[in-house]
């Protein structure tokens, strides 16, 4: 029983079989990796992706990354939150008029707190959603042949390409200190 379940789990973890086309170079030194990225981009390779245990700023520069778009999602979420919070209070107050403590049905000061908290709540949630969407998470299958070492101390550079172009790239990588280069497809 448990065994069967275990097999199932293994299947699940293995994920769907995928065939990649491209070159994966594994580096240890950051500056080597940076160099490689630079040259590859100079040679006009698109869609590079770099795998690393920690983000490295110079690699990001080399890739010419723009800053994340998450903040806009967050902002809209916050906006929704605060308007939603206030309108909820006001609607509730008017839909069934009940006086408490001789106060007006729409007493703004207490509603500020509700509005504020709901703003934070929705901003937080949308921030999460935004991040997951933009980072393509959760994902069942990596977009490049993944290697456990990438979460330890190795840096992987993936260049989607094929045929002799792939061979060129392989040469290049071996040239500037890749510890291991593998051509897929």
């Amino acid at each position: 029983m448990i065994g069967m379940l275990g097999k199932l789990v293994d299947k699940l973890l293995a994920g769907p079989k995928a065939n990649y086309r491209g070159v994966m170079g594994v580096y240890y030194y950051v500056d080597d990796a940076t160099e490689a990225v630079k040259t590859l981009r100079e040679q006009g390779h698109q869609g590079l992706s770099v795998f690393s245990p920690v983000p490295h700023h110079d690699i990001e520069h080399a890739l010419g990354q723009k800053s994340s778009l998450v903040r806009w999602v967050t902002f809209t979420g916050g906006l929704l939150g605060i308007t939603g919070g206030f309108s909820l209070c006001i609607y509730a107050g008017l839909s069934y008029p009940m006086v408490t403590g001789g106060k007006e049905l729409i007493s703004i000061p207490p509603f500020v707190i509700i509005g504020y908290e709901s703003m934070i709540l929705l901003a937080g949630i949308s921030n999460l959603i935004g991040m997951l969407a933009l980072a393509r998470l959760p994902q069942t299958q990596s977009r490049a042949p993944y290697d456990p070492r990438f979460t330890e101390d190795k840096i992987g550079i993936w260049v989607p390409c094929s045929g002799d172009e792939a061979r060129k790239v392989e040469q290049l990588m071996r040239g500037n200190g890749a510890e291991e280069v593998k051509v897929h497809g």
């Binding site: 009940m98 403590g101 001789g102 049905l105």
Partner: protein, 1050 residues
């Protein structure tokens, strides 16, 4: 929690005579509904009907109206038309219902076999009884009949019965007014309990007569008393060693040496005569020659100057009124003391004025203790063959040395007609349970010219197999073949009333007359009293304290339990004693100094010892007793009588030595010396109010007479109330000496104690008072008399006028006159009855978990002899317009309704209890346990107590907050009636349970929008103020300050 769970529908069907129908435990929606088989004419389900009757909870016999709903009696109220009580009713009266629904009532006839009670059938029981009676009579022995003071036809029946049976009929009342009647007989030649006209008196001086609690006709007297108090110039002096609740209402407390009352009365008489203030009576001076004020000072420790002052004031009162003869002061010279007071009344010319012998209370047939002892003697020497007891409980109430209890065992056969297993019944061999007064037909002639009807307000409870006492007696007589009585009690009664028909019939045929009598609760005529002259001066002797010990023992009747007959009623046990605020037990009151000497602290277990006996009770330490006095209440300490009464507290009668009043033979409750010492264990002292000072807070306010009269002349008529408001906020700077003077008493103290350090901030100094827009239209719900012209706060927001808030036309409110409130707690009992309030017992009251919606707060500003300042504040939900409790409820379980009520919606409440925290008055009660679930140990309405529950009020379940609703069910009913009659609600249509039952009418309920309503007028009168007004909650309850009289220093 449905009401139908607490009170099963099938029970009430048993009630309307349908017998049990297998509807047991059918949960909704499959409840069985069984219609009346034959509908009683125009009796509809769901509507309450009122039946006039007479209260039998004490010998007085007030007129009552009993509300019967779906066939069960659920509420008692005073009968406004009745001359004895004029609409008021005391706590004991309300609790009559709990006697009717007493879960410990005897279920049917029972025979004692081998010391154990065993149920028997009525036939069998009656056969045995008759057999025994015949046996006794054939053996040439007498048959004794002991009853309570039933008066009226039942008295006639019992007398005739006893006569026919060849025995004695003894009417036993522990608090027989024998000494009083004897004294009146000797001095006025009329042996009756006179009608004291408190209303007319300008000065009342009470020599130990607790006329607001148990002495005479408390409810009626309270009404008169309040009318007198309403007059600023009236004056009330109490002379007693222990400040009773009656005394607490006095302007001046003369704490004469225990037993000194007589000397003081004579001294006053001496002054009046010697100074010729009384006019006439010159000859009487000889009687009081030796009682010069100086002599009196020696005997009573009352300064001669005071004696003179009081005498002069009393003589000039014209008329004054001196009363005497309470149980607490009943010594072996009781008659002498009362005679002295009679003399005082006589020389001051009050007899015939305020002391009248017109509507005298009927105690004429009540036996003296001597008679009881005679009977006990006969019983002891075996000349009594059979004893029949009904209503009376001498075994408990009479001192052991009367030998009655012991003698009972000598009687071969004893029959009890009592419905409960009281001590006397325990001594009997056979119980033939009688109906409760509320189930039975009868009458009572408790006062001269008053013939009031006792009418069955419901079918006899099905679970108790009972018979009318009259029928039982008749059955016994017929069975044993003596006397000649009509076949049934009701015929006997009707026969009696045929006589009345001639007098009161007014041309109607008997049927019509009878119906009318039932409808109005009896018939009464005006009677004129002979105003008797002075027939003879007895020898005056002051009581000598007996026995060892350095404290004088004062035994006083408990205002709630009376002579002990209230002890098995949960309400009376749970409603706090007006003086000590203690519940569910006994205690002994001692003075702080004495306590310090003996190393006794509040609540310590102490032993009170006389030569005749000793009791162990918790100590109640307060300055309301003289340092040389220890006071113990009567009424507790039952060894039987039911679950609430049994083994609770002590029966202090055990402390009495075999001493009787020389003249009347009455028990000398006063005159013992007692030793007090610490001891190991005694019952716990459980109190609902511990702190007895209001700490200068704006709760119980007074207004000096001078200020009151000053106010009448214009100035400050508006400022008065606000001045106190600022007082509360602690603003001595805000107004100068004038204001301080204007609010003497507590407020004097307040001003003094609130002196701020020069560095401390002054209120209002940096805040700009805003003037409110005068012509802003305020919707009813936010109206309050407490609306102030200036507010030191952000501008008020516009009150809501959406939904019903704009269209409402009432603002329900109350005005409570602290000047009339005597602290008697009748309103509390009324509230328990009306609103299904559960009792929780001492264990929870210790944690302040009592559920009462209204409580009487007692604040003692000054407890020293001399100027007396004790204040009572009936405290219930104030229904604030700006209520602090409402805003904090997260689910709108409490909110403000369009008619200004502070609503509490039980089934919306989740029980966060925030509202109670935020209520400055602390008037919200929380259901800490399930008091309404029969399966829970905390169930508060054991069958058949649940029959009393008011179907119009939800029985609250566990975990919800509850509080005063201003009897919303009554409001809705009143509005409905008005609507049906196509008219607006009139002032007085609607009243709350508390207001209705108040003997002094201190509570007034009404509509604040209607400017003509009584409540509006009072709420804008000059004595108005609001509790904790500085919080600006704008209460719907306005209080009227107590009038504080000046008291001369000597």
């Amino acid at each position: 929690m449905t009401d139908s769970v607490v009170f099963k529908r099938r029970d009430f069907l048993k009630l309307v005579g349908l017998g049990a129908v297998g509807a047991a435990g059918c949960a909704p929606p499959a409840d069985k509904l069984i219609p009346y088989l034959v509908p009683p004419q125009d009796i509809l389900p769901g509507i309450g009907y009122w039946y006039a009757s007479t209260c039998r909870e004490c010998p007085v016999g007030c007129g009552i109206l009993v509300k019967s709903r779906d066939g069960r009696a659920i509420k008692i109220e005073g009968n406004p038309a009745h001359p004895v009580n004029r609409g008021g009713l005391c706590a004991r009266g309300h609790a009559g219902l709990q006697g009717l629904y007493d879960p410990d009532r005897v279920t049917g006839p029972m025979m004692k076999t081998a010391g154990a009670w065993k149920p028997v059938s009525w036939d069998e029981a009656l056969q045995t009884a008759t057999a025994k009676l015949t046996e006794a009579r054939s053996a040439g022995k007498s048959v004794a009949l002991v009853t309570e003071n039933a008066t009226g036809s039942f008295h006639k029946l019992s007398a005739a019965w006893a006569a026919a049976a060849g025995g004695t009929h003894l009417v036993y009342e522990p608090f027989n007014t024998h000494a009083l009647r004897e004294a009146n007989r000797r001095t006025f030649g009329v042996g009756a309990v006179p009608n004291y006209d408190f209303a007319r008196a300008n000065m009342v001086i009470s020599f130990g007569a607790d006329f607001l609690e148990t002495w005479g006709n408390p409810v009626g007297q309270a009404r008169g008393f309040s009318e007198m108090r309403a007059r600023p110039e009236s004056y009330f002096v109490t002379v007693e060693p222990r400040l009773s609740n009656t005394g607490a209402n006095a302007d001046e407390w003369v704490a004469a040496k225990p037993g000194g009352e007589m000397a003081l009365a004579l001294g006053m008489a001496h002054v009046i005569l010697s100074e010729g203030l009384g006019g006439g009576n010159g000859g009487m001076i000889d009687a009081v020659r030796d009682w010069t004020p100086e002599a009196v000072e020696l005997q009573t420790e009352v300064p001669a100057a005071t004696v003179r002052r009081l005498a002069q004031k009393f003589a000039n009162a014209k008329p004054g009124l001196a009363v005497a003869g309470g149980i607490a002061s009943q010594s072996e010279h009781a008659v002498a003391m009362i005679a002295a007071v009679n003399l005082l009344n006589h020389v001051a010319g009050n007899v015939g004025e305020t002391v009248r012998f017109d509507r005298t209370l009927d105690f004429d047939s009540v036996a003296s203790l001597g008679d009881l002892q005679t009977l006990a003697g006969q019983m002891a020497d075996g000349s009594v063959g059979a004893l029949v007891v009904h209503g009376a409980n001498p075994v408990y109430a009479a001192p052991a040395w009367t030998g009655f209890a012991a003698a009972m065992d000598k009687v071969p056969f004893k029959i009890s007609l009592s419905g409960v297993l009281d001590e006397t019944t325990e001594h009997c061999d056979l119980i033939l349970p009688s109906l409760h007064a509320l189930e039975s037909l009868g009458d009572a002639a408790t006062a001269r010219g008053v013939f009031s009807i006792i009418q069955p307000t419901m079918q006899p409870l099905p679970m108790f197999k009972t018979k009318a006492a009259g029928d039982t007696l008749i059955a016994l007589a017929r069975g044993a073949g003596f006397g000649s009585f009509p076949s049934t009690w009701s015929e006997y009664l009707k026969g009696e009333w045929r006589g009345m028909h001639g007098r009161f019939g007014g041309g109607k045929d008997f049927g019509g007359f009878w119906d009318q009598t039932l409808a109005q609760g009896g018939v009464w005529e005006d009677v004129t009293g002979t105003s008797p002259g002075w027939s003879g001066t007895p020898v005056f002797a002051a009581p000598e304290l007996r026995g060892s010990g350095d404290l004088a023992l004062v035994l006083y009747p408990s205002p709630n339990l009376f002579d002990g007959r209230g002890a098995n009623k949960g309400w009376l046990q749970e409603i706090p004693d007006p003086t000590t605020k203690a519940v569910w037990g006994s205690w002994a009151e001692i003075h702080p100094d004495t306590a310090k000497k003996l190393g006794i602290a509040m609540g310590d277990a102490i032993k009170v010892e006389t030569e005749s006996g000793s009791v162990s009770v918790p100590a109640f330490v307060w300055a309301g007793v003289r340092p040389d006095v220890v006071a113990v209440p009567l009424g507790q300490g039952h060894t039987s009588y039911g679950r609430f009464a049994k083994d609770r507290g002590v029966n202090a009668v055990a402390l009495l030595a075999p001493v009787q009043d020389a003249a009347s033979g009455a028990v000398a409750y006063f005159g013992e010396r007692a030793k007090v010492s610490k001891t190991a264990a005694a019952g716990e002292l459980v109190r609902t109010q511990r702190e007895r000072s209001q700490h200068d807070r704006e709760i119980a306010a007074v207004i000096p007479v001078s200020a009151l009269l000053g106010l009448n002349t214009g100035r400050g008529a508006t400022e008065g109330p606000h001045a106190t408001g600022e007082h509360g906020a602690g603003a001595p700077g805000a107004h100068g000496g004038a204001a301080a003077g204007e609010h003497a008493g507590g407020h004097h103290v307040m001003a003094g104690s609130l002196m701020l350090h020069p560095l401390q901030s002054k209120p209002g100094k940096y805040t700009e008072p805003r003037i409110k827009d005068p012509n802003a239209k305020v919707p009813p719900h936010s109206v309050s008399a407490a609306e102030q012209p200036v507010i030191v706060r952000s501008p008020r927001q516009i009150p809501v006028d959406r939904g019903n808030y704009g269209t409402a036309t009432h603002r329900w409110a109350m005005a409570i006159d602290l000047n009339s409130c005597t602290g008697c707690t009748a309103c509390v009992a009324a509230c328990y009855a009306e609103n299904n309030i559960p009792i929780v017992g001492p264990e929870h009251i210790k944690r302040g978990r009592e559920m009462s919606w209204i409580r009487i707060e007692r604040f003692e500003e000054n407890l020293k002899p001399g100027p007396n300042d004790v204040r009572f504040v009936p405290m219930m939900c104030q229904h604030c317009s700006d209520a602090p409790c409402e805003t904090v409820c997260p689910v709108y379980a409490t909110y403000h309704n369009p008619e200004g009520l502070n609503a509490q919606v039980y089934n919306r409440c989740v029980g966060t209890r925030y509202c109670s925290n935020n209520c400055p008055y602390k008037v919200r009660a929380f259901n800490f346990f399930d008091y309404s679930a029969p399966e829970k140990p905390s169930f508060a309405f054991p069958e058949p107590l649940n029959w009393q529950l008011n179907p119009d009020v939800t029985v609250r379940s566990k975990g919800v907050m509850e509080k005063c609703t201003m009897c919303i069910q009554r409001i809705l009913e009143g509005k409905g009636t008005a609507k049906d009659e196509g008219r607006a609600v009139r002032d007085g249509d609607i009243t709350t349970a508390c207001a209705q039952s108040c003997p002094t009418q201190a509570i007034v309920f009404g509509d604040l929008i209607d400017p003509e309503s009584n409540v509006s007028k009072l709420s804008h009168g000059e004595r108005r103020y609001w509790v904790l007004n500085e919080l600006n909650t704008k209460p719907g309850v306005t209080y009227l300050k107590k009038i504080q009289r000046e008291v001369a220093s000597t």
